[in-house]
């Protein structure tokens, strides 16, 4: 096999190895990547989400260790082009047949006094972010030097870390490389609203040390600006030291000079990504890095692919503000004309750059609302589909769409996927966005093209049905709205007026849940009883042998010895199997239907309530012992967990809701794996949402920080009610956040900033829930009609089901029969 060595294991290297090993079906190449970072390649573009709750695992890129040798924590120290070897910091000397430089770039550190003080950081790697986080722990103020794209991302990070944040930019306005002055003015205003102060046209002359020798302030040509954390984001420099030492040609502004094949002046050596200089330009974005990687992968396999420069379009969300820039954003083309909509009141700025005869789109800038970006960017260099002003007026986003584009137009610029590629994938059977992503990689990087993927699917006649089932053409969220608006309180009326047929096991429980969320009495009252699936019907969880489990609520996981003894006695007296659950309570298994009322009579007598383990409802609020016992605790996590559990108990939702409260950042309650995770801070509570365990684990992401008790409860009230109103059936909060247009930012806008003006309404709904809560099991025990349902047989109500029997394993009863090895597959549903 021929030996390929890749120096650097960042995003370009990852793309190269992925593309090469996919295409190299004959096994021509054995690839080795040498990476200086202590971890395999990760998603640097998404680096800043680290401060929004993403973890190292979330940032990880596909694991390539099965397809190539990935050496981490090792630096390439020299290239010997004559011997064709690379020497590493671990002392290895590796021979190559082809070498690829993918060393990326390093942040430019301005040569000012004090730039090396403790507290000063670059912003490029996960290690940098960890170091910034550590510095911020003992700081109150922070400054970012550089007000470009990355600088604003870094400013947001400092803000999320709780620092009073300033941005210092030498140019007269923010983001000088991407946007014009009008757009920057709006951006500056919106950024100021978030509490970040921008100082433009300002030079940093020194970083001044404070006591202990760490950074304390910036010297801005005479005025001093307090800054205990300083982040450099004043541009990048290609890491070309190895290329230089090996005598390769360099570009005019550094970087290994490459041709259209991405080959350096040595035909056996290629360079890709931010360390390469193509036609004198070093590209600092992912799309060109990917395109170069694809070119080299093809060349290594004998192809003729060429890199011919790249689109530097970007769309970002900076500090919650949409910013997009594409094509000739500055109108540098001869005779170019600007068409501008600058609506300061509604915080929108949009500029299109068009050719002198106003027929061709050349580029543009959007700030405040960048929805039109996905549709406009592929039009660059093409005839305008209509009046340019109409394209950027608020209603105009729909006028331009992928429908009118030719097949060679690029829809996903990050991954160079054309409309033709996408159409072929749709013809090949890709029927939804995830399938299109898997087939073409489109939409897998920045995500801004996803709306276009949806439009293309719709254009191709692929129906994206949101129908609940064959009986309702509406989605759960729509039915919820209908029930709220019309006041319909029964399934019969809902299906008669808005559905067809008699319902099924999909729509009946879904409607039952909607009605329960709207507070329509006991779930077994009247007609509602017939809608519930068996768990809700018997207020217990069905097990594989037809018995049920019983889970009393133990708020916050706190329980007295007497209550523990009661649970033990009940289990012993009824012959139940007991197990501690992951939600800090106790599961009693093996109860027959006719035993449930007697078991619950004992539990209710001892003060227990239903734990709703059977319902799509709040399950538990786990907690650690917090300040009550723990040496590290900073808040009373147990009391908060109990308060939250008692507040939201019985709340019916599209799916189960799990929550947890940790008493400090050590996170012993694992709150970030929950739908609602609360973590104590010195100043109050941080609220994380959308976590999930199970099949697709997700870490919860930060929704709001340093809330006081009231603020926390208000935020959770609104969040849960917004989820209940808008989520799909059986959609956990994690999946809901992923499918919601605008995702977490949208939720933050609605829940924290009340962008829809519905916050008071959401809070009122929750207040009604809290006031209307009654223990469901007590309700059953007090009502002879409901009790009568707990019969094993209608003609022998107390006779045990003869098919149920137990054997003893580790001194406890477990199902003996029927013996089925594994569960058969559940039927497929369309």
């Amino acid at each position: 096999m021929a030996r390929l060595i890749v120096i650097g294991n960042g995003m370009a290297a990852h793309r190269l190895i992925d593309a090469l090993t996919r295409a190299d079906t004959a096994g021509v190449w054995h690839a080795t990547a040498i990476g200086e970072e202590p971890r395999p390649a990760y998603d640097r573009v998404a680096l800043s989400t680290y401060f929004d709750g993403a973890t190292e695992t979330d940032l990880a890129l596909a694991d390539l260790s099965g397809r190539a040798e990935i050496r981490t924590g090792e630096r390439a120290t020299a290239i010997d082009r004559a011997a064709k070897t690379v020497t590493t910091s671990a002392g290895a000397v590796l021979g190559y047949d082809a070498l690829v430089l993918a060393t990326g770039s390093a942040p430019f550190i301005p040569p000012v006094p004090g730039a090396d003080l403790p507290g000063c950081h670059p912003y490029r790697t996960i290690d940098d972010l960890d170091a910034i986080t550590a510095s911020a722990r003992t700081a109150a103020t922070g400054a970012v030097i550089g007000g470009g794209l990355l600088g604003l991302e870094a400013a947001n990070a400092l803000r999320l870390l709780g620092l009073d944040t300033h941005v210092v930019e030498l140019a007269p306005h923010l983001m000088p490389a991407q946007i014009d002055q009008g757009a920057a003015a709006l951006l500056a205003r919106m950024v100021a609203d978030l509490g970040v102060t921008a100082h433009t046209g300002t030079a940093t002359t020194a970083i001044l040390p404070g006591p202990g020798g760490r950074a304390a302030a910036l010297d801005l040509d005479g005025t001093s600006l307090p800054a205990q954390v300083v982040v450099f984001s004043a541009g990048i420099r290609p890491r070309d030291d190895l290329a230089r030492a090996a005598g390769l040609d360099l570009g005019p502004r550094g970087g290994a000079a490459v041709d259209d094949a991405c080959r350096t002046s040595d035909p056996a050596v290629y360079a890709i990504g931010e360390c390469a200089s193509h036609n004198g330009t070093v590209h600092g974005l992912l799309a060109p890095a990917n395109a170069m990687a694809d070119t080299v992968a093809d060349r290594l396999l004998g192809g003729t692919a060429a890199f011919t420069g790249a689109d530097s379009s970007t769309k970002l969300k900076l500090l919650g503000v949409d910013v997009a820039s594409f094509g000739d954003a500055h109108g540098r083309t001869e005779g170019a004309l600007d068409v501008v909509v600058n609506d300061a009141a509604s915080r929108r700025y949009a500029k299109l750059v068009v050719s002198d005869d106003a027929s061709t789109l050349l580029g543009g800038v959007l700030v405040g609302d960048a929805t039109a970006y996905a549709a406009l960017r592929p039009l660059v260099g093409r005839a305008l589909p209509g009046d340019p002003l109409a394209l950027i007026s608020p209603a105009g986003a729909d006028t331009a769409g992928p429908s009118a584009l030719p097949d060679d137009a690029q829809i996903c610029s990050c991954n160079a996927v054309t409309k033709g590629d996408l159409r072929a994938a749709i013809d090949g059977g890709a029927a939804d966005v995830p399938a299109l992503k898997a087939a073409t990689c489109a939409g897998t990087s920045c995500g801004s093209c996803v709306p276009m993927l949806k439009t293309l699917l719709a254009d191709a006649g692929v129906e994206q049905s949101t129908a609940l089932c064959e009986h309702f053409t509406r989605s759960r969220a729509e039915l919820m709205e209908i029930a709220r608006a019309t006041g319909i309180t029964t399934f019969s009326e809902l299906i008669a007026r808005h559905g067809t047929g008699r319902g099924c096991d999909v729509c009946k429980p879904a409607v039952a849940s909607i009605l329960a969320s709207l507070g329509n009495g006991h779930i077994l009252a009247g007609e509602q009883a017939a809608l519930q699936d068996t768990n809700d019907h018997f207020l217990a969880n069905l097990q594989r042998n037809g018995t049920y489990s019983v889970v009393p609520r133990i708020p916050g996981g706190e329980i007295t010895p007497d209550r523990l003894i009661t649970i033990g006695e009940v289990a012993r007296d009824f012959g139940l199997y007991t197990k501690i659950t992951g939600g800090q309570r106790i599961d009693l298994l093996g109860a027959r239907v006719e035993q449930l009322p007697a078991i619950w009579a004992r539990l209710v007598d001892a003060g227990f309530e239903s734990g709703h383990a059977y319902g799509k409802a709040l399950r538990t609020v786990k907690s650690c012992v917090g300040t009550t016992w723990c040496r590290y605790g900073v808040q009373d996590s147990v009391t908060m967990a109990i308060d939250l559990e008692l507040r939201y108990r019985g709340l019916r939702a599209p799916h189960k809701i799990k929550a947890a409260v940790s008493g400090c950042a050590r996170e012993c309650a694992e709150a970030r794996s929950k739908d609602v995770g609360v973590i104590a801070t010195d100043k109050g509570w941080n609220l994380y949402v959308g976590g999930n365990g199970g099949f697709t684990p997700r870490h919860a992401r930060l929704l709001a920080s340093d809330l006081d008790d009231t603020g926390l409860v208000r935020c959770i009230d609104r969040f849960l009610m917004f989820y209940i109103r808008t989520a799909d059936r059986l959609q956990r909060t994690a999946a809901w956040l992923e499918t919601l247009d605008g995702g977490l930012d949208r939720v933050r806008a609605v829940v924290v900033d009340d962008a829809l003006g519905i916050a008071a309404d959401l809070e009122a709904d929750m207040a009604a829930h809290v006031a209307g809560y009654r223990d469901e099991w007590r309700g059953v025990l007090e009502d002879p009609d409901k009790l009568a349902r707990f019969a094993s047989f209608s003609n022998a109500p107390q006779a045990p089901d003869p098919t149920i029997s137990f054997t003893t394993v580790r001194d406890q009863p477990v199902p003996a029969a029927p013996v089925h090895l594994g569960m058969p597959a559940a039927p497929a549903r369309t």
């Binding site: 064959e470 009986h471 047929g501 008699r502 319902g503 099924c504 096991d505 729509c507 009946k508 429980p509 009883a529 017939a530 809608l531 699936d533 068996t534 768990n535 019907h537 018997f538 069905l542 594989r544 042998n545 037809g546 009568a788 019969a791 094993s792 047989f793 209608s794 003609n795 022998a796 006779a799 089901d801 003869p802 098919t803 149920i804 029969a817 029927p818 013996v819 089925h820 569960m823 058969p824 597959a825 559940a826 039927p827 549903r829």
Partner: protein
């Protein structure tokens, strides 16, 4: 004195098993009925008043739970979905709607004098 006169004739297994009072059988909510010999039927009333009884044992999992399933329809055909893994069965015939090779035994049902009866043996 309690001298027996004639030994009672051993009664033949009844053809009809009383299941419950009519008013106990709610529309679209089943009950289980214990049959002589230990078999079980799942008895249902649909919204239009029609009565159906099927074997109570879910053939896919072996658990006797079909009476606790949700009653509804598929394209107008009345169905019950097993609470175990949501396999659906036609109430009229017992046929599985997920696997054509599977069919549940169906039992005769009659309603008389305010009571519902299930046949002791399947149809």
């Amino acid at each position: 004195m309690t001298a027996p006169t004639t030994a009672p004739a051993r009664p033949a297994a009844p053809a009809w098993v009383p299941a419950c009072a009519s008013h106990r059988l709610q529309p679209e909510r089943g009950v289980a009925v214990l049959l002589p010999g230990g078999a079980q039927a799942a008895l249902f009333r649909t919204h239009d008043g029609a009565l159906y009884a099927l074997d109570n044992t879910d053939p896919f999992t072996g658990a006797a739970v079909l009476s606790r399933g949700i009653v509804g329809d598929r394209a107008g055909e009345p169905t019950v979905a097993s609470p175990m893994l949501k396999h659906r069965f036609a109430l009229r015939t017992g046929a599985s709607l997920d696997d054509p090779a599977v069919r549940l035994a169906a039992y005769p049902v009659r309603e008389d004098g305010g009571r519902v009866y299930v046949g002791a043996r399947p149809l």
